[in-house]
Symmetry: D3
Subunit: 323 residues, 6 copies
C-alpha cells in the first residue's frame, strides 16, 4: 500500500489519526512526524496540546504531490508519523527529557523529524536532541517574537525563552541563527537587542516587506550554507487573519501566500529538523490555522524530498555517528 | 500493553486516533468499534461523516472502568477499533455494500460491532449484515423519529426510511422491534401508525415519562427476551440541550441522566451489535454531543462485558455458522 | 398548493424565507406570523432583531402535523406569514406605532397574530393593538422576570417595563394576568411585589416545581376562563441550557419538555394573540434556541386550531366589530 | 415599489428571504438569482446546501448602487430572485435535471442566471442548460482546483469533475476555457496537465501574482472575445482568511481586494450566466464568506448591467431561438 | 455609593472588571471575591486561567438581592473583589504559595473568601490557608470526580489529587468531608474506595437522585454541624448541557435548578470559604457556564449573609487569633 | 508602581478590567482611555456596547513599548483608563450628553481621550466636546463608509450620519476633513458626493492602493498641518478577514499591516483625541478584531507620546482655556 493513503483509496474524512494517514513505521524512513503536545510553558492562552491532533485532522485536506518542488514529499522520503511524545503536562523538565529522547532517537537514525507543537518551548527539547546528534546547529526561526526573553517570574523555562536557553546550552551556532518576522509591541526597547547580542540576525516584518522575499531568502541561504539547520515555525509569524488560533497573536503579519513564498524559497539547505508551534485549536473556529500548519508540514517534507532528489539529503550523507 | 491505553501510560490528549486508543486488532476480540462515516442519506443538515473521528476524540475524556456494571468494558471484551469503513460519499448502495461487508465479517467472527454513524441510514447496512449471520433480529431503537417514512422525493433509501426498508427486506423480527423516545411534529397523522402497522412497538416520549424508566425497561426485556438483538441509538433521542450537534433536533427530549438510566437498565440481552448515529460535529461547539456518544459506546461495551461475565455472551455461545 | 409547503414538495433547506414556507396571504386566514425585529429597548445583550429570520429558518425542521393536539395547525387555520414589521431601530415610539398598526389590522380581521420578537418591549405594542380591538385582555406570561420594573435611567419604555406600562394604559385585566416562571436575583425585594400590587398573579419557578404542571394549568384556566387572552413567551423562561441564545439568561429554569407540557395543557382558552421574544441568534451557536421558539410557534398555532376544531375560535366568534 | 428594497424603505434586517429582497418576478427581467442547494457531490466537508439562504441573508448588508461600474445592477436589469431549485439531496442525476430545467427556462427567456451553489458539481447542470440555449460556451473559472479529476471511487459525477464531464458532453469551447487561481497540493503531477490536455488554459496563483491583474484580464478578454461566456466562481479561489466557510480550503490564495479587481476588470464580455459555489455556512462563524459571495453576486449583476448600458447585452441581442 | 453598583446607577455592560462591580476594599468586609487564575495542574483541557474574568463579566447579569434567602449578599457582607492572585503559570508550588498567602490574609481578618478558579488544584492552596487560620476544616465538595487520585505520571500535585494531598497534610477533618455528585467512568474500581478509605463520605449522582435533595442536605448538615467548613464547587458537578465550558465534562449530571436547590438548602453552616472551579471560557460559546458560576458565587455570599443575619457569622464569632 | 502593569509584575491574564491594567487616575495624565459602550444608533448588527471591555481584555496581549516610535506610550503620557461612560441604551440624546461631558472634562484638562466605541455615532458626542474646548477641529476618518448619510427613516441621529451632523453643528473644519478607505456598494451615486459637497476630502480604497501609503500620508499631513485634529477609526476600514467582528463589514479592505503603516505614518499631528468604533464582540470568535482595536489604541497613544517627545504635545501647548 502506498502512503500517504491516497484519497483514491479511502475518502479523506476516514482518518486513521495520523498525518495524512501515514504509517507509524516504514523502512528507510527519512522523515517522521512527531506530536509534541506540550503547552505548560505558555504564558497567556493555552491549548496547544491539542494542536498535533488538529493538524493531523486538517492534513486530510492535502494531497500527496507538491507541485512547486515537483516531489511526492511523503512517498519520496518514506515518511512516517510516530504519534505523540508522551509528555507530562505539569512538568517542564520531564517533558523535555521525553521529547529530547524521541527526537534524538529519530535523528540518530538519520531521520528528519517534523515536530507538531505545542508551545514554542518544545523547540528547546528538540535542539538538545539535535546537539547530541549534530552538534550545534543553524536555526531559521519564523516568528513575530524573538523568544529570547530571559525569565518569566523568575522561571527560566517558558515559551518566551527557548532561544536564549538554547544559546546558553550551546545548542546553536549563533552566527547562523536568523529570526524573521519579528514585530509587535515589546516589554523593553532591549528585547530585540537581546537577540542581537546573542549574535543572532533579526529581520523585522517591516524590514522584510521593504526588502522582499528574494533578498531575505538570499540572506538566509548565505548565512546558513550547508550547515545542519533546524527550521522552527511559530504560527504567529502569519497575521491573525490567517491564523486565528494561536496563543499570542500579533497583528500586522504576513499572508499565507507570502509565507509559502518564503518557505518554498529556502531550498537546498541541510535540514535536520523542523517544527510548527503555537497552534491553538480552541481558538480556531474553522480549522484554518491547523490547515495552514498542516500545509507547512507538507512543505517542510517537500524541502527534504527536493534536496534528496538533487543528491544532498543531510540525513543520509552527513549524519555523524551517534553513540 | 493494556488497552484502552490508560491515562497513566499516556496523557489523554495524546491520541492515536482510535476510540480510547484501542488497538486495531487483538486476539479473541469480542467487541469492535467501527466508523461508518456516511451522511449522504441525510435530508437536512449534513456533516455526520465527521462524527466517527469526533466521537473518538471525545472518548479521550473517558476512563476504562464502568462503575455501574463493575466491568472494564474494553479490556474484558478485548475490544478493538478497526477504523472507518471506506464509504463512497455519493453512492448510497456501494456504501451500504462496504459497510455491510465490514459488519458481516466482524459478526461472523463472533464480534459485536459498535458502529459510529453517520446518518441513520447506516443502520440498514448493519442490519443486512446481521441478517446474514444471525437471521432476522430484534431491535431496540432510541430515537425521536420512527424512521419508517417510505420515500423522500421518490428516493427509497435515506435516513428517514431504514426501518421500513429493513422490514421489507426481512431483517427484523417485527414483533421484537421497540422504538422509544418518539416525539415531535409529523408530516401526517399516520407517520407513527406506519410503524405500528409494521408490527413495531412505539413508545413516545410522553408515554415514557408517564410510565418511568423501570416499566419501559421491563417491557423491552419482556419483548426481546434472549433473541439476538441490535441496539440503535439516534442521538436526537436526547434533548438538543444535551446534543446540540445533531441533524434533526427535536426539543422536549430526554436528559443524559435519564438516557443512561435506560441504557444501563437494559442488561442481560443478547446484543449482536450497536450503533450511535446522527452526531454532527460542525454543530457541536463544545464537543458535548460527541462526549455523550462516546459515553454511550462505553455503556454499550459494558452491556456486552456484563453479559459475558454472567456467562451469556451472545457472540460466543449462539453465533450460527456463517458460510 | 398546500401550506406549509410539505417537505414532500420541496426539501426543507429550500427556504422561501417565511415560517415553514407559509404564503404571505390566504383567504380566511385565522393565524398570522409577524416578525417584530425590534431590540432597541434591551438593557444588556442585543441582537433580537435577527430572531424573526432565525426562527423562520429553524422552522424548516418542523413538520405540519401536531401529534398531541391532533391538528394541522397551519393548514387548519390557513395561516400566513406577513413578514416583518418595518420597525425603526433607534426610535421606540415610532416602532411601537408601526407594530401596533400591523397587529391591529390583523386582529381587526379576526386573525390571531403570533409575533416573533424582538425584545420583550414589543409586547406592549401588541397589547395596545389588542386593546383597540378587544378591550383590555387577559395575559399569560412565561418569563423568568416580571418585567414590571418602572424606569431604566428614567426611561419608561424598555424591555423591563412592558407590563407596568400595559397596566397604566389599561391594556390588561389585572386580575387575569398570570406571570409564571419568575426566578433569579432581583434589584430590590419589592421587585416581585410590584407585580402583585398591580393585581397580577406571580408564580415562581420554585412554586411551580412544587405544585406541578397540572395544578398550574388549572389555576391559569380558572383565572382566565373565556376572556380574550394573550400569551407572551419570553424564551428565558426555559433554562439557558435549552436557550443559550437569549439576552438575560437566568439559570435554574425549565426544560423544554416541562415547557411543552405547560403550553400544551393550556387548551380551550380564547387566545387573541401570542408572541415569543428575547431570542438572540448571535448567542445561539447551534440554533437550538431558535428551534425551541419555532416549536412554540407551532404549538401556539395548534392551540388555535384545537380550539377552532372544538368550536370555539375566539377570532371567528367573539371578535367585536372594529371601527 | 423599487427593487431591491432600499434600506430607506425597510431596515436591512427585515428580510423577505430573497437576495437583497428582490421580487420573484418582474417584467423584462434580465438577471435572475437562483438557489442551487445541492451538496451531495462534495468529497470532504458538506453543508453548501445552506449557502443560498446564507448568501441571501448576507446580501442585506449591500446597497443597490455599484460605484465602480456606476450602475444599479438589480434595478437596471430588473433582477429577480426565483428562489431555490428543488433538488433531491441523495440523487445527483435527478437534481441535475431539475437544475438544468430551471436554468434553461431562464436562459431561453434571455435571462442571465446567477446560481448560488451548492458544491461545484452544480455548474455541470447549468452548463448543460447553457448548451441547449447557447450551444457550447466559453468559461471563466475562478478556483484553486481545476475540477477536471475524472472519477472518485469510480463515481463520475462529483464536485471534482464538472469540467471534465462538461468537456466530454461538448458543453464548452475548450479553447475558450480559462481556469485561474489554481494552486495547492495535488494527487498526481498530471492533475493540472489533465486540464491542459482538454485544451483549457490554466493560470496558477503563482503565475497570476507574477503577471498582475491587468495582464490576466487582458488574456481572458482576448481568449473569450464576444463568445457567450459563463463565469463560475469557487469561493476557495480566495484565501481561507477571507473565506473561512468553504469545503476544501487552500491556503496561499487571493485577498478579497485582489479578487474584486479581477472580477471588476472583466467587463464587456458576453455573459450568459454566473455562479458562486462552495460556500459552507456551518464553517463561517461571522458570515464573512457569505458576505463575500453576496458581494460577488452584486458584481456579476453589475457586469451585466454595465454591458447592457454600453449596448451589448448578450441576452437581448444574441440569444438564439430556443425550441 | 452602594455596592454592587446597581444597574440603576450604571448600565450592566459598563463593567469595572470586578465581580458585580464591587470595590477592591471596604471597611468591615466579610466576604471577598478572589481570582485564582491557575490551570497548569489540569490534565486534559486547559483555559481555566481565563475563568475569573469570564465569571466577573457574567456577573453583570445578576442583581443585588437574593430572593430565596432574602438578603443583599454583597451589601450585607460589605463584600469586596480583591482581583486576581498573581500566580505563576508554570510553577505549581510558587503559585500555591501566593494563593495560600492571599487566602490566609483574608481569613485571618475574618473575611470569607470566594475563590474563582482555576483548575481544582487551587483548592489545596486555599485549604492550606484555612489550616493556618482555622485548623483542619470540614469540606463539602460538589464534583463529578473525587479528586483523590494519587499521582499523574508520578506528579503529586495536579487537579486530580487535591483532596488526597489535603488529607496527607492534615488540612481536613476526614469524617467531616462529604463529596457529592460523583459519577462517570473510572480508572480503577478502587477510585471511589480511595476516598472512602480516607474517611470521606461519597454520595454518587445515582444515590443522590434516589434519595432526593432534602435527604442529602440533612446528611451534610448532620455531618458537618458547626465545624468551620469549606465549600468547593467543581462546575462539572452539573451536566455538560448546563456547563458546556469545563475541562473534564461528565454526562449524566445535575440541572442548574437541582444544583441551586442543594446549595440553597445548605444554610446555617459555619462557612469559612468557598470556591468555584474548572470553568473553561474557551469552550463556553454563550457564556452560560460562567453565568452559572457567577450565580453560585451570589448564592455563596448569600449563605454567609443569611447566617450573619441569624447571628452566626463564622468569621466574626469564631475566628481564632491568627499570628 | 509602573503602569501599564508589566507582565513582569503580574501575568497578563490577571486582568484588572482596565486597558493594559492602567490606573483610573494619575497626576499629569496626558492620555485617557474612555469606554463609550453605546450602540443604539446602529442600523444593522448590534453589540458594540460590549466592545470596550473586549478591547480591554485583548489589550492584555500587548506590551508597554512601541518599537516603531520608540516610546512607552502609556508611561510617557501617564495614561489612565477612566472606565466606561454611563450611557443610556435607549436614548441617543441623553447618551450623547453624558459622553460629551466626559470627553469635555478630559479635554479641558489637556488630556487626549481615546474613545472605545460603541457604534460610530459616538464620535458626534466627542466632536461636540472637542468644539467646546478646541473649536472646530480637523478630522482623519478611517472608514469604508463616509457616514454622511442624512436620515434613516427620518431619524437624524444614527451611526450613518455623524459626519453630516458634525458639519451642520460646526464641529469640523470641512476643508480639513479627510475620509480614507471608502469603498463598497452605495445607496445612491450621490452618497460619496454628499461628502465632497460638505467640503471633505474622500479617498477611496481603490485610489489609496494606486497611490500608496506614503502619498496618502503626505496629503493628510499637508491638509491638516498643525490644526487640532481628531482621528476616528471605524474598524470596518480593514477587511473583514482582519476584523470579523464588526457591524457593517465591507469586503475588499485593507490588511492590518497596511493599516498600521498608515497610522504609524501620521506622526507630528496635533491630536486632540481618537476613537476606535464598530467592534462587535459577538461576531469575533477568536477576539482578533478586539486585538486589532487594542493595538490601534496602543498606536494612538504612541502618536501622542511621539509628538510630546519631539516637543509638540497639542494638549500641553495649545489647549485654549476652557471656561
Amino acid at each position: 500500500m502506498q502512503y500517504p493513503l491516497s484519497p483514491d483509496v479511502k475518502p479523506e474524512f476516514c482518518t486513521t489519526g495520523s498525518y495524512m494517514r501515514l504509517p507509524a513505521q516504514r523502512e528507510d524512513a527519512l522523515v517522521a512526524i512527531v506530536g509534541l503536545p506540550f503547552d505548560t510553558a505558555a504564558s497567556f492562552r493555552v491549548g496547544a496540546r491539542f494542536a498535533p491532533q488538529a493538524i493531523r485532522q486538517a492534513s486530510m485536506l492535502l494531497f500527496p504531490y507538491h507541485p512547486v518542488h515537483k516531489v511526492f514529499p511523503f512517498e519520496d522520503t518514506r515518511a512516517i508519523d510516530i504519534g505523540d511524545v508522551s509528555v507530562i503536562p505539569h512538568n517542564i523538565h520531564r517533558s523535555y527529557e521525553r521529547m529530547e529522547t524521541a527526537m534524538r532517537d529519530l535523528m540518530a537514525k538519520g531521520i528528519v523529524p517534523i515536530g507538531l507543537g505545542g508551545d514554542h518551548s518544545v523547540t528547546l527539547a528538540t535542539l538538545r536532541a539535535a546537539k547530541e546528534v549534530w552538534g550545534p546547529v543553524a536555526l531559521i526561526q519564523f516568528d513575530s517574537h524573538t523568544d529570547t526573553w530571559d525569565t518569566y517570574y523568575e522561571e527560566k523555562y517558558w515559551h518566551g525563552s527557548p532561544f536564549i536557553r538554547a544559546h546558553e546550552e550551546g545548542l546553536l551556532l549563533p552566527e547562523k541563527v536568523v529570526q524573521i518576522g519579528i514585530r509587535g509591541t515589546l516589554n523593553h526597547p532591549g528585547d530585540v537587542e537581546a537577540s542581537l547580542e546573542l549574535g543572532y540576525q533579526v529581520i523585522t516584518t517591516q524590514e522584510m516587506r521593504k526588502r522582499g522575499a528574494a533578498d531575505i531568502i538570499r540572506q538566509i541561504k548565505e548565512t546558513i550554507g550547508s550547515t545542519p539547520c533546524f527550521l522552527s515555525f511559530d504560527i504567529d509569524f502569519v497575521d491573525p487573519a490567517y491564523a486565528l488560533g494561536t496563543g499570542t497573536p500579533e497583528v500586522g503579519g504576513f499572508t499565507s501566500f507570502e509565507t509559502l513564498e518564503l518557505v518554498r524559497g529556502l531550498t537546498g539547505l541541510n535540514y535536520i529538523g523542523f517544527d510548527v508551534v503555537e497552534v491553538l485549536p480552541p481558538y480556531d473556529p474553522a480549522q484554518t490555522t491547523s490547515l495552514l500548519a498542516a500545509t507547512l508540514v507538507h512543505d517542510f517534507a517537500a524541502l527534504v524530498a527536493e534536496r534528496q532528489k538533487s543528491g544532498g539529503s543531510a540525513a543520509e550523507q552527513t549524519a555523524p555517528g551517534f553513540l
